[in-house]
Symmetry: D3
Subunit: 299 residues, 6 copies
C-alpha cells in the first residue's frame, strides 16, 4: 500500500492531542547535556517549532552547567560546588551569565530559528530582560532542606530563587507568535544577577502561566523505582514518599521537587522525559505510549 | 526501535509543509460520490479538522448530484440533463436547494464537528446566506462552449454562474476559527436561487480569497493521458491542449476549466485528487509524493 | 396640511421606542403558517430589516410544520403525531432537516435579503452549524407534562430539547451586522440531528442572549379568556393558572410555556402577536397600542 | 382599520431611505431664527436624535445673529454691519463667542439631550476646542466678491474663514455615538477667536467629512425663481446663473455659495429647507416629496 | 561648568515623579483670579501641557466668579450673594453659563492649545455637554451646613450640586490624548442648567475618576494655622478640626471640604497650591519641596 | 527666589522639544568605553528612561570592543585586528557573542531597569533573537573602501554586515512600552553568528525604523576641523569632503559613514555626542545649546 497513506494515518493519530492542547501553554526545560549531540539538538528544535505551529504556546527554559564549568576553567577559575550547588561569587556570576545568556541561549534561539518560518521566531531572554525573573538570594536552610541535602557551612554566593515572574513580556511574545527561550538568571532589587537552578525557573514560569504541561528533558530514562525500573506514572504522594525514602535521589530530586511545586501552582501535568531519544517531546505529547515519567495532580 | 519515535519522525516530515501553508487559504471541493462511504467521509472530515488546527484556513465546497436525483425520483420528478447540465425548473430548484443546503451541507457540517474541538466548528452556508454567491442565469452559448459541449436547444432553467463572491462573511468566519462549508446555490437580484456547478463555485471562491490551493476531491485518479496513464503535473498550456484534443473529457472538463480559471484568478496551485483513497487530502498537502494531478500557474 | 409632515410625526412617535430598544436583542419566532401569504411575508421581512437598522439585534427562529408534512407525503411517508408531537424516525428526520434548513430557512433568508442593504444581511443557520443548539432526546414524561398532555405510549423518535445554546456564533454574527435566521434542528453528542419545537428553541436562544423581547408571530389574535376575549397583558401567575384551568390550550400551550421559561431565563417581555396582521411586529414594538398578548416578568 | 397598522406602514416607507443613509454623515446647519419657537426647536431636536438612532452620523452647526445683537445692545455696544457682515472688534468678538459657545450652543446641546438616551449624547464644541476650525482673517476682496457684494471701505475686524477642519475630534465623537454641535468660532495661529459665517462653517465641515448631505434649515421656503415660485431642484450651473442674475439675493447668497463649495468639496447633495415647518428635516430625508430646494452635483 | 548640564540634571530630578505619576489622573482646579495675570496664565497652560506630555491624564476645572459679576453688571444686573453663594435666577444663570462656557472656558482652551502640539489638544466642555455633570438643586440645609454657614432665608435659585459624573466622555477624550477643560455648569433632568461651586465639581470629577491628585490653584499660600503660618501637610482629622475651630474659614472652607470629599471618594492626595507663583503646579508635582498645603488620606 | 521655581522653569524649557519629539523614534548607540565610569553609566540609563517617559521610542545599540579583548585574553586568545577590524574566527566569535549578548547587553538592561518603573522595561536582544539582524559576511573590497582603508590581505573571518532588519519585534516591543537594547551580532542564513560594527548596526536599525534621530555616544567631543576645533553642524557634502581630505579619520570614519547612510535611509538627524559629559543625551535633545556635532540631511 501507498506509504504516504500510512504517513497520513500517523498524522491523524495526532489529531486528538492537537485538539486537546491547542492554545495551551507548555514549558519545556532542556538540560545542558541534551544540547550536545547535533542530531538530538535538531530533533528538539524541530519539535518545539512543530508544537508552535499546531497552536501550542511553547516556552523553553535551558540550563548550562557543563558549559559554564568549561569556560570557568579557561578563565582559570576552579568551579566549586557546595552540596551540588555552584558556589557563585561575583566573577563566577559574570561567567555564568555570559555563558547562559550569551552563548547557550543564543545558540538555542538560532537553532530553533533555522527550522521555523515567517512570524514564528524564537527570542532569547534572561531573567534580567524586562525584569522577567525577580529573584532574591536563597534562604540556605529552606533551600537545601527542599532538595533534601544538609546546608553547606560556606556561603553559596549569588545563588537565587524566583520571587515573582513578570508574565507580561512572555505573554505578549507568545501572542505575537514568538517562542521565548529563557536563561535561568534572576534579577535582584538593585539589578544584580542571580544564578538560579533551571528546573526551579521552569517550574516558576509554568506555575505563573498556569501551563498545561511542564516537560523536563533529561539525560535519564525518567524516575526509577528501587529495582531500577522506570515508573511511568507517579502521584504527588508517591513522589514525596520516594524522595523521603531516598529512591529518588541526586539530580533527580530538584526536578521532582520543582515538578511538585508546579503541580501545586496549577500546572496540569509534569513529565520527566529522556532527551537522549530523538523527538522525545513529540512522542510524549502526540502519541498514546508516552515516554519517561509523568507526575499527576492530586485529584 | 520504539514505534512511537517513528511516528514522531513522520510528524516531523510534515513540518516544512505546515510552515509553508500556515495562515494560507485552501478551498476543498468534495464531490457527492466521495461522501458516500463512511470511512472515507470520516477520513475527509478529520483531514479538514487537522488542516484547521495547523493554521490553514480551510473552506469546503460540496456538490450533490446523485443525492438530488434520488430525491427528485421520490418526488416523482424525472431528473433530466441537457449536455450534462441538470434541467432546473422551479420545482427542481426547490428540491436541489433542499438536498444541498438542508441535507448534504448539514451532514458534512455535523461530520466535521464530530472531530473538531472547542472554538473550531464547521458552519454551513448556501450562497443565499449573506448574499454570499451573487449569481445570474448562465449565458448558454458561453457556458457550454467553456465546457466544450454544443449548447442544448432547450432552456436549462435556473442554472446559474457566480457573478461575485461576498467574501466578508467567509473571512469573518475564518478569522473566528470556523470552517465554512458551502452549498453551490447562488442568489439572483430578486433573491431567487440558482443551481450552480460546484466546481465553478469552488473556483470562484478560491479566486476571490486568493487561495493557496484549490483541491478537487473526485472519484478518479486524476487527469490521464491518451494512454490512460496519470499525469502528475500539468501546466496551463498543456491542460488547454489536452481539452482541445479531447484527451480530457466528460466530467473532468469542468474541473480542469474551473481549475484554470482559479489559476488566472490568482490561486497558486490546483489539485485534482482521488477521494477514494483515505486521507488523500493530507497525503497531497503534507507529503512529498503528492497524489493525483496538480495544475500549475504559468511562470 | 402637508401629508409628509404627518408622516414625519408618525416617525417621531417611534423615537421613544427606538431609544429604549437600541442595542437590545429581540428574538422573533415565526410560525410556518405566517410564511405563506406573500404580502405578509414581505411585511415581516421588511419589519425585521427595519428593526436591525434602528439598532436592534434581531434573531429570527422559524418553524415549518405544514411544509414538512407536505414533503413527507410526496415522499410517500405518512406524517404521524403523538400528542401533538411529530413522530420522527430517521427518515422523517432527514426530511425535517431538508425542509427546515434547506427550504424554509433559505427562503426566509432570501426574503429578508431582498429588503436589506449593504452589510446588513440575513444568514441562515441550523442548530448543527457551529454546534449552535446542543440537544438531547426529550425526556418523554417531563416534556409532555410540561405541555400539559399525557405522554404517548409510543416512542416519539428523534424529538429533542435544547441542552445548551452556543451563543458565540450568534453574537459574532450580530456584531458583524448580520441577522441570524435559525432552523429548529438540534445536534446531539454524535452529531445526530434532533427535531425540536421551534417555540422552545426561540425561548432557549432568547434566554441565553438575555433578550429584551421574545415575540411569537402566530396565526391567532393572542391568548384569550374563557369567553374568547383577547387578554392584552398576562402575568406569569395568571398564565400558569389559565393553563391549569385549560383556558389556554392546544397549540397555545407550548408558546405560553416557552414564554414563561424565557421570562425565568431573564428575558424582559414575551409577546404573542397576530402574524396575520401586516407589520404586526412593528405595531407591537413601535406603537403605544400594542397588539396581541404580552406576558410580563414577575416584579 | 387599525390606525397602528397605518403607522407601521409609514415607518416602513422610511426603510429605503434609512438603508441608503445608514452610516453616512449629514451636516445640518440651523439658523438662529429657527431656534426661537419652542415647538420648532423640539421638533428639530427630536429629528436630529432620530437620525442618529437610525445610524446617520449627524453634525449640527448653528448660527446666532439675532441673539448676539441683543446681548451687544444690553452691553451698550451698537451692532454694526458692513455689507451684511458684522463688524467684529475685540470686545464684540468676546460677546460673539460668549453668546455662540456659551449660550446658544449649550442650549441646543441640552435640548437634544432631553430627547436622546443612553450613549447618544450631544456635545457642544466651538472651533477653538481641539483647534477644530483653524481660521484666518478673511481676504476682504475675495470674500465679498464671493458673496456678491462690494467690499466695504472699513475694516471688518475679526471676521474669519476656515482654513482647515481638524476632523479627528469630530470623527472620534461620531464613532463614540455622540452628536457634535458646533459654534461658528474659528481659531487663529495665536489662539485668537474669529467670527465666521455659520453657513460657510457648515460647508467646510461637510466637505472635510465628505458628507452625504448638507442641510440648511432656514426661515424661508427655499430658493425661488424670478416670479417667486419655489425651485425644488437646482443644478450647480443654474444656481450660479441665478446668483449672477440677482434672482438669488441677500441672505440666500451665502447659503447657495456655501452649498456650491460643499458640492465641489465632495458633498453629495445640498438642501435648503424651511425650518418653520415642524420636522422638516425628517420630511426632507425620509419621504419622497422632499421639501425646499435641493442643489445637485454636476454629473 | 556647562549650564546645559545643570539643566539636564534638573530634568533628571523630575524622573522619579514622572515615573510615579505616568498614566495617572490629575484634576486641576483653577480659580478665576489666577487666570488674570498674563504670565501666570501662560505658565499654568504650559504646565498642563507638560503634564500631558509626560503621560499624566490632566483634567482642568475652572471657576469664574469675578468675570461673571463684571458681565452681570454690564447687563445691569446687580450680583447678589447669600452666605457666599451667588443668588442665581434664570437670567443670572444664562449670564453665568455664557461667561463660564463661552468666555472663560474657551479662553483657557485656546491658551493651552497655544502651547500644545499635534494630537494633544484641549477641549472645552460644560456639564451640559454629553450630560457630563448630572445635577440637582442643592438641599439648602445640607449644603450650607457642609460649608459651615447658616443657610440664608432666601431661595438661592439655580444653585446645584453634582449627582453623578458621566465619566465616559472624559475618559474617551483622555484616551484620545485630549485635555478636557470643564466649566462648572450642571444639567438637570429637564436639561436646565445649574450653577455649581467649581471646587465641588473638581472634587466630584476627581472622585469618579479615582484621581491620583486633586490640585486647587488658589490666590493664597495654602491653609494657615492660627498664627497665620502655612501648614504644609494636613491629615483629614486635623482638617476637620481646624474647620470646626474656625481656623480654616471663608473661601478656604469649600476647598478643604471638597478636598476631604475627594479623599473619601478615593483620590490619593489633595493639594492647595498658590497659583500666584509661576509654575506652581510643576513645583508641586515634580520637586521634593512641594508648595502650599497637602491633605492626606487617613491611613 | 524659590529654587524650585527655577527648576520648574528649566522643565518648561524642555517643553518645545518634548512636543516635537513625542512619538518619534531615537536610536542611541553607546560605545564600550562610555559604559565604564559608574556615574556616566547611570546618567546614561536615566536619560534613556526619561526619554521613554516623555513619549520618545528609544532603541539602544551597544558595542563592546575593549571588554571582548579582555575576555579573549583571559581565554588565551590574542585579539587581532586587520585594518581596524577584529579578525573573527569561530572561537573568537563565540567569545564576542558571550561578551556582547551575555555580559554587556544584560548589564545595560539591568542598569536601565534600575531607573525605570512599572511597564517601562528594557529588554536585551541580539540580532539572532527573532532573526532581528539578517546578515552576511562583508564584501571585503566594498567594506574597507567604505571606511576608507585598504582591504587587508588576510580573511577577516565572521565579520558581517546587515542585510535586513526585521522590525516587527522591535516595533512590537516599543508599542508595549519596552526599551529594546540590541547587541551587534547578526544572523546568517544557517543561523550562524556574525560580528558586526555597532555603528553600522545602529544606522541600519535607525534607517529601517525611519528614526527621527540617530545619536552616537562617543569618547570624543565630536567631529573636529583641521585645527582641532569642534564642528557643531555638518552637511552631508561637507562630511564626505572631510573624510576624503582625511580630516575625519580613524574611529570617527565609521561613525560618520554610518551616519551618512542613516540620513540616506530617511533618518532626520545624526548626532555625534560626547559621552564623557554626564547627561549629554538630554543636553543634546532638550536644550538649545546642543553638544557635539550634528549631521543634517541635504535639503
Amino acid at each position: 500500500m501507498n506509504p504516504s497513506i500510512d504517513k497520513a494515518k500517523v498524522l491523524q493519530e495526532a489529531l486528538p492531542y492537537i485538539r486537546e492542547f491547542h492554545g495551551k501553554v507548555f514549558v519545556v526545560k532542556i538540560g545542558g547535556s541534551v544540547m550536545i549531540e547535533e542530531n538530538l539538538r535538531e530533533a528538539f528544535a524541530k519539535d518545539v517549532v512543530l508544537l508552535r505551529y499546531v497552536g501550542i504556546n511553547v516556552v523553553v527554559v535551558h540550563g548550562g552547567g557543563p558549559q559554564i564549568s568549561r569556560v570557568l576553567e579557561r578563565f582559570g577559575i576552579r568551579p566549586r560546588f557546595l552540596a551540588g550547588v555552584r558556589k557563585t561569587d561575583e566573577e563566577t556570576m559574570q561567567v555564568v551569565e555570559m555563558v547562559l545568556s550569551g552563548d547557550i541561549n543564543k545558540d538555542i534561539v538560532a537553532l530553533i530559528n533555522r527550522f521555523s518560518g515567517e512570524n514564528i521566531y524564537a527570542v532569547g531572554l534572561s531573567g534580567r530582560d524586562g525584569r522577567l525573573l525577580k529573584a532574591r538570594k536563597i534562604d540556605k536552610k529552606v533551600y537545601f532542606s527542599k532538595i533534601g541535602l544538609p546546608p553547606p557551612g560556606e556561603d553559596v554566593g549569588l545563588v537565587g530563587e524566583v520571587e515573582e515572574v513578570n508574565t507580561d513580556l512572555i505573554v505578549s511574545l507568545l501572542e505575537g507568535g514568538y517562542i521565548p527561550v529563557i536563561a535561568p538568571v534572576g534579577v535582584g532589587e538593585e539589578g544584580e544577577a542571580y544564578n538560579i537552578n533551571a528546573d526551579f525557573v521552569a517550574s516558576s514560569i509554568a506555575s505563573s502561566l498556569k501551563a498545561e504541561k511542564l516537560i523536563f528533558l533529561t539525560d535519564t530514562e525518567g524516575v526509577k523505582d528501587l529495582r531500577g525500573r522506570l515508573i511511568p506514572t507517579l502521584t504527588e504522594e508517591k513522589a514525596r514518599e520516594l524522595i523521603k525514602e531516598g529512591v529518588i535521589r541526586e539530580g533527580m530530586v530538584p526536578k521532582v521537587v520543582a515538578g511538585l511545586e508546579a503541580l501545586e501552582g496549577g500546572v496540569r501535568k509534569v513529565h520527566i522525559v529522556d532527551g537522549r531519544i530523538p523527538h522525545s517531546v513529540l512522542v510524549e505529547v502526540f502519541t498514546e505510549e508516552g515516554i519517561g515519567t509523568e507526575i499527576l495532580q492530586r485529584t
